[in-house]
């Protein structure tokens, strides 16, 4: 995929995260456009594009949200290995299900990581609040966003690519 297109996607995701996402909260969770763009890029363009887009999106998102880009990069990092493991182990689920498993597990991880980072800086951590107001609504929003974008892209003829690193030329 064109580098400029990936850059445009990363900028769009970062801008949408601070301009659109806070306007449509479910409980205390918001859409994660950075996760959705990276996960969909992984499915439709393969891991090469995702490996380039993921750090770029994390850095730009860190800039606009005043969070550590390093923390965000670590937070979104499980997307690639989870998707690769699902493909390598030949888990009998289709691409949409693979996208959901990789996307939702990464969404959960990044929210947990950000919560722990906030706690490290003095925030309270009531488990009930975190589970009911952050994790569960967050999973719902991630599911909705991935689904809303995935099927129209499939409908217009975009085919999913292999999500394994080996088939993309990254064999060790």
């Amino acid at each position: 995929m064109n580098v400029l297109l990936v850059l445009l996607l990363a900028v769009t995701a970062a801008v949408a995260q601070v301009s659109v996402a806070p306007l449509f909260p479910v409980s205390a969770a918001t859409f994660d456009f950075a996760l959705a763009s990276s996960a969909l890029l992984l499915v439709f363009s393969g891991p090469r594009a995702a490996m380039f887009a993921l750090p770029l999106t994390a850095i730009l998102l860190g800039f606009v949200t005043d969070r550590s880009p390093a923390l965000l990069l670590v937070g979104y990092l499980p997307l690639l290995p989870v998707a690769a493991v699902l493909a390598d182990l030949h888990v009998p689920i289709n691409r949409y299900a693979q996208l959901l498993v990789a996307g939702l597990s990464t969404g959960l991880f990044v929210r947990l990581l950000l919560a722990l980072a906030a706690v490290a800086h003095g925030a309270a951590f009531p488990p009930g609040v975190v589970v009911w107001q952050l994790f569960l609504p967050g999973l719902l929003l991630d599911f909705l966003l991935l689904t809303i974008v995935y099927f129209p892209l499939r409908f217009v003829g975009w085919d999913p690519k292999s999500m394994t690193l080996r088939r993309s030329g990254f064999a060790a």
């Binding site: 601070v18 306007l23 750090p55 800039f63 880009p69 390093a70 690639l80 950000l114 009531p126 609040v129």
Partner: protein
Amino acid sequence: MVGLALLLAIAGQAGALDPVQGAFLRVSSPLTNLVSGIFRPIASFLSDAGNLNELQEENRRLRLENEQLQTQMVDLQRDAERARELEAALGISQQTGDETRVAANIVNRIATPFDSVVSIDRGAAAGIQPGMVVLSAQGTLIGTVTEVFDASAFVRLITDSRSKVNAQVLESKTDGIVKGTPGRGLTFDLVRAQVKIGDTIITSGLGGNYPPGLPIGKVSAVSGGPQDLYLKIDVEPFVRLSTATTVVVLTSFVPQRIELTTP
């Protein structure tokens, strides 16, 4: 990737990313404003449609409050006039015009149960520094500046769960600490005296991070019995922080002690 994360962490700590971040914020701010302006009416419509009963009740309550405030304003104007007359008679005067303020627009919002942060479109070029106090257009305390770039700055709102403000009850002069909660609300902690629903909470000025007397909110709920060491007090901010679009930075106030970190 992990190596890159480490590099980013080191670069972030060293401040090497700050110029790039400032430049990106300057470039992306107009775009963010545009996109936000397009989606805000849709979000507002959906929110209003879902809270019609609540809005009607709020409207009724605000009408009553407005009437009470109008009455209080008349009383205060009368008192002020009387004070001016007495000052003139006694030959004393009070200087109050040394405050300088900078108005700014909210550009970005970052809202999770733990973060209540906004970015504004004024920065170091306008004289803004980390630790400065941020107010609403009406003068209610909103938060504190945490990071400053040339033409933008980040503000941690008082509802952020890392935020703590030394405060007191206006009516009883009882001191305590206003803290943000994970649900983007406020609690008034470490209070040992009686507090009533409707009491006004203002900054106490203790600790030196905020000037005294800034309005914060009013007590919305009090729980706990005589056996409890401290009462559990919920505070409703005077300003609706989620919809504020303009803020004022108090550039003349220099905080005495700054303990601000960002994750």
